[in-house]
Symmetry: C2
Subunit: 330 residues, 2 copies
């Protein structure tokens, strides 16, 4: 019996191309003492994977070594076990990689309930959900009545951030890259406004949607929307810098706004990445599960099929072409 | 009996020029019920005054109205009083303006001890001291063993920030604009290193002075030093943005660094200005007075003489030509 896994064999220059990866077929191994064999059913494709492909001494997590299985989170079933904590039949989630099977000692696996669909878990309780939860409750710390703006608002993180804020009584404005996405944000998720950053009159629409300025800014993209949003920040505003997807594939990232505005409006800007906070996953997961069970968080999944679809599929994220959480079903 | 005061009659385009001001001579008034007449002895010239001259809806304090006395802090003696809280002979400090005499209802006056020299009060306990104290203890929150870098380190705020941090066990690096200032920082104030940002090998010197990177950055200037310092920030570093004196007289302030670094290194950047925190002046003043009494804070004052010297004197700040806290003695 054999399985396939995707190895990173070359580092990207700028874009992610097929030649960075090898699809390798190997014999399925058996777990040793303390280990389990997981058969993956769903892989998660996330923007963070771009960073994991490139060496950077300042990055928050070491890059994937050339020749190793590409890092990715996913869901699977324990099909052979020599570890009493994860008996055969356990459903598990973790950073298991772009692979059909994996051997694990269980250290970075979390058991998940079998009755919740994998799409719901990867869309709400996995990386997107804990990122949104941390950004909202630990970084932005919103208060009812404030105005929050979110870039990549229709993305897997942004859509959850906006719903959490709406549930707390904020005015929420989403910025997205297509009219279809904007429509989804207002009609399905209850955002107060949604603006397509590609519109020629984006700045005018932004002014009209934020007559009282902007108190909180959840930044996922960088790019052309950043400066006009920054210029509308209110005194004592807070900015959570979660992602800059518009810059990840540029040789020279765009400069940020002058710091004069940071003083004049006494802003706080805070960058965060989740590996610093993985120890809080159980706590965040419980809170997210409760929100999901109460119907407070809607999501949509964009599902690709078969492990081969992963390497080209990740580019959908950088092109803004995915509609919802990008998942590969195996 | 008459007195002179300096009125703002024109707003600056970029630089501060003599024609922005009129020196007006008026008869000395007498206080009404609840008021006091203060005869000023010392005026403080501070970079913040540049901002007070220009209208900006986002600024933290309203601009000075055209025709009004230019705002400035100072020290004086109560020479006539109809307010029991401030009997004749009281020594007071406050935002009394560029003037030889002023009528006040006492609302924004603080009584100060007569035995402490005015230079010590304006250099340590007035705006520079409370700014340094707030920036260190409320924004940067340093811990022993960390590395702190300060721009305009020989300035009235920066020199106090560095001394407070040294007293807490940090490694402190100062950036200043002359070798004389750098010499003063290391030999008199005990900074670990001081670097002249005008040196051609500034970046190399910076690397050598910060072998373990930079944890905390107290930013007073902007300009060419900002980007190389930003690039050496350690993960979870904190930046207090207090001033950007290099940008205040530019038509177009320089852009800031890309926000990619904010994410990768999970930085927190916080702007602050003191009018938000004036209610804490009594508390901060007490702490600063105690530090001063214990000999923990050295200062130097650059004294000009006569009210006419105030309007040209303020430019010394923007040219980096003052050596110590800039004070006008009347």
């Amino acid at each position: 019996m054999s399985y396939r896994s995707i190895k990173l064999v070359k580092r990207p220059e700028l874009e992610i191309t097929e030649d960075l990866f090898d699809v390798v077929t190997q014999a399925i191994p058996q777990p040793s003492e303390g280990e389990v064999l997981v058969k993956l059913t769903h892989l998660s494709l996330d923007p963070a994977m771009r960073g994991w492909m490139s060496p950077d001494e300042n990055s928050y997590i070491p890059p994937v070594k050339l020749g190793d299985t590409m890092r990715a989170s996913g869901i699977g079933d324990v099909v052979a076990s020599e570890n009493a904590n994860f008996p055969v039949g356990s459903r598990v989630m973790g950073l298991m990689g772009l692979t059909e099977y994996v051997i694990s000692n269980g250290d970075n696996l979390n058991q998940i309930p079998k009755e919740v669909p994998a799409e719901a878990i990867l869309s709400v309780i996995a990386l997107p959900g804990i990122t949104a939860y941390h950004g909202v409750f630990e970084v932005l710390k919103p208060e009812a009545g404030q105005t929050l703006i979110i870039t990549a608002a229709a993305g897997s993180v942004g859509s959850l951030v906006g719903q959490m804020a709406k549930n707390m009584g904020l005015t929420v404005i989403g910025v997205a890259g297509s009219d279809e996405k904007c429509q989804w944000l207002t009609s399905e998720l209850g955002f107060d406004h949604a603006i397509n950053y590609k519109d020629a009159d984006f700045v005018t629409q932004l002014e009209q949607a934020t007559p009282n300025g902007i108190d909180l800014f959840f930044e996922n993209t960088g790019g052309t929307a950043q400066a006009p949003i920054f210029d509308r920040m209110n005194p004592h505003g807070r900015i959570a810098v979660c992602g800059l997807i518009a810059d990840y594939q540029k040789a020279e990232p765009a400069p940020g706004p002058s710091w004069v505005g940071i003083i004049k409006r006494r802003l706080t800007i805070q960058g965060f990445t989740m590996p610093d906070h993985f120890h809080r996953i159980p706590e965040y997961g419980q809170a997210l599960g409760a929100m999901l069970a109460k119907g407070e968080l809607k999501y949509r999944a964009h599902v690709l099929y078969g492990i081969e679809s992963a390497t080209s599929g990740i580019n959908l994220l950088f092109e803004g072409k995915n509609q919802g959480k990008l998942i590969v079903e195996l």
